[in-house]
Amino acid sequence: MSERVDATPATSAATASAAGGELQDAPPAALRPSLLRQLLGDRTALLGLLILVVLGLLALLAPWLSPHDPIAQDVLNRFAPPSAAHPLGTDHLGRDELSRLLHGGRTSLLTAVALGTAILLIGTAVGLVSGFAGGKVDGLIMRVIDVLLAFPNFLLVLVVVGALGPGMVNLAVAFLVAGWVGYARVVRGLVLVARHQPYVEAAHALGFGSGRIAIRHLLPNVYAPVMVLWTLRTGQLLLAFAALSFLGLGVQPPTAEWGAMLNEAREAFVRAPQLMIYPGIVITVAALGFNLLGDGLRDVLDPKLR
């Protein structure tokens, strides 16, 4: 009898201290409603988001904001200094630099975001399938991933687009071929870890189908790391895209694109270095936006090593 009496308070104290340990047992970050608020509270992430929103708006509104047609040449007015008509001057063909930068953002930024998102969807889907199916399917996908991962992403894109020939469509194909692997590998790993979480095993035991478990229980866990990956990867994609255009393998003249503008400015860079500096700065700022956001996101999701 005395055993019961003595044991009761100890048990309730243990329960109380377990409740006190709620920090360790917090739900996955993605489930916390405050993720967005936390993100907005992180100065780094906020700055990154701000840069991307501003650049995105400028790109979307380029046709209305641009003072001139970005491909209209004016050979009598080449390398013009800044003026009221041309706030940033003109390039080697007399085209308005500001208008080209704005339209260039449309090509660079919007392509990067669209392509980055498409890669995310494909990669995540493959990762989920691989992680869930297991067995032979998983084995085969892993072999393919191993082969593709032997190459740095940029090199794979370079040789694929090199073989297919330059142009937007080929570039997109090359990025898709090379890009999905990174997501697939991470997502597969997350699925394998999550599959052994008690709540997922419980869902299995209750007889829920794999598809339902994937959507209800696994996606929330996969969501946060994948968002970080998307942010950082899309920043890299933007740089790679510009690099390929710079090498003449991406967007072809006269279309305005930041990397291509740098490439065109090479010829006259001693005479007009500003034509190189403007697009260079804009690319850097855009990539910085992605990196700031990604870095902030990572801190919010994994504050351990802040």
Partner: protein
């Protein structure tokens, strides 16, 4: 009375956090004489390790320290950081728990000893190496030449702790602080390590402060015992008085949770109820009152002072020290 080697007065340690300060150590006062072996006992979270680290100021820079820690009259808390390193290792040696993780993973055992010696003694490398081998021998490591070349991950916990002890005594410190040195070691190894500490203390006249949560362990080690609870000392006395006439209800609880093999079953039943308080929210009045079987109105209001009430400096921080029934009688009172 001669000046004690280490005199800790009103030591308090606070960690500021986003969710309010944590009071890890609360006005702790005690002293250790030259060559004396003192045991500090308490449950985890009682602030005993924090106090040990505070003495040599090894806590994170965010920790707020107050009070005095006088080593031979010099207040270590006021010492400039540059002087501190001449105390650490040279006058106070330290040994911690998890010895394998306390040794640098990419440096051989011998090199780590040499490093410790040369940090304070301007001896040539060769002489330091000879001394390192002597030290390894003196802590009972067979074949020191061989083991000196090994890397920490190859050592067992007991071996690693011997190495740590060798390192701690490498510059003949006046005081050795051992913070739970045998936690997670086998019982037989534990006994060996404790015996080694006693032996070294007697041979070299080194004072040892042993921190543990195991009161029974101190029987074979300490001359004097300090009992800590919620960041304060609640009772102190010589081994004899403390084991013979404990006067704080918390100490009784600790004594009863000490398990003798044949009595294990019966005694577990009377172990202390409840859990120690969180350092964020220490109860008002006597910190032990929520768990105390004899709690009175005054215990909820007033903090009891640590007061000498018996021979041999036996002191207890209980409002009813010396007035309460002995634990043996307790069992009859509370069926």
């Amino acid at each position: 009375m001669t000046r004690p080697l280490l005199d800790v007065r009103d030591l308090a340690v606070t960690f500021p956090t986003d969710s309010g300060p944590i009071h890890a150590v609360h006005r702790m006062s005690f002293s250790i004489g030259s060559g004396e072996r003192v045991g500090i006992v308490g449950e985890s979270g009682a602030g005993k390790s924090v106090a040990a680290l505070a003495i040599t100021r090894l806590l994170a820079p965010s920790a707020r320290l107050s009070g005095q820690v006088a080593l031979d009259g010099t207040d270590l808390l006021q010492l400039p950081r540059s002087q501190l390193r001449h105390v650490r290792g040279e006058r106070i040696g330290m040994v911690f728990q998890d010895p394998v993780t306390c040794l640098s993973p990419r440096m051989s055992v011998g090199d780590q000893l040499v490093e410790a010696i040369r940090a304070h003694r301007g001896v040539p490398r060769r002489a330091a190496r000879d001394r390192a081998l002597d030290l390894l021998r003196s802590v009972g490591i067979p074949d020191p030449v061989l083991w000196a070349k090994e890397y920490p991950h190859r050592l067992s916990g007991g071996m690693a702790q011997r190495v740590m002890i060798a390192m701690a005594i490498s510059c003949d410190p006046e005081l050795l602080i051992a913070d739970e040195p045998t936690t997670a070691l086998d019982v037989t190894i534990e006994a060996q390590i404790i015996d080694l500490l006693v032996e070294l203390s007697e041979e070299r006249g080194t004072a040892v402060m042993l921190i543990t949560h195991d009161l029974a362990l101190l029987a074979r080690f300490a001359e004097r015992i300090l009992v800590t609870y919620a960041g304060s000392i609640v009772e102190q006395g010589t081994v004899g008085t403390l084991y013979g006439r404990p006067s704080h209800p918390y100490t009784w609880g600790l004594m009863q949770s000490v398990t003798g093999v044949n009595e294990q079953r019966r005694r577990r039943l009377t172990a202390i109820r409840g859990a120690p308080p969180s350092a964020r929210a220490i109860p008002p009045g006597c910190a032990f009152h929520p768990r105390c079987p004899y709690v009175q109105e005054v215990c909820r209001r007033e903090v009891p002072e640590l007061m000498v009430h018996g021979g041999d400096d036996h002191a207890s921080a209980c409002h009813f020290a010396g007035q309460l029934a002995r634990p043996e009688e307790l069992r009859e009172v509370r069926p």
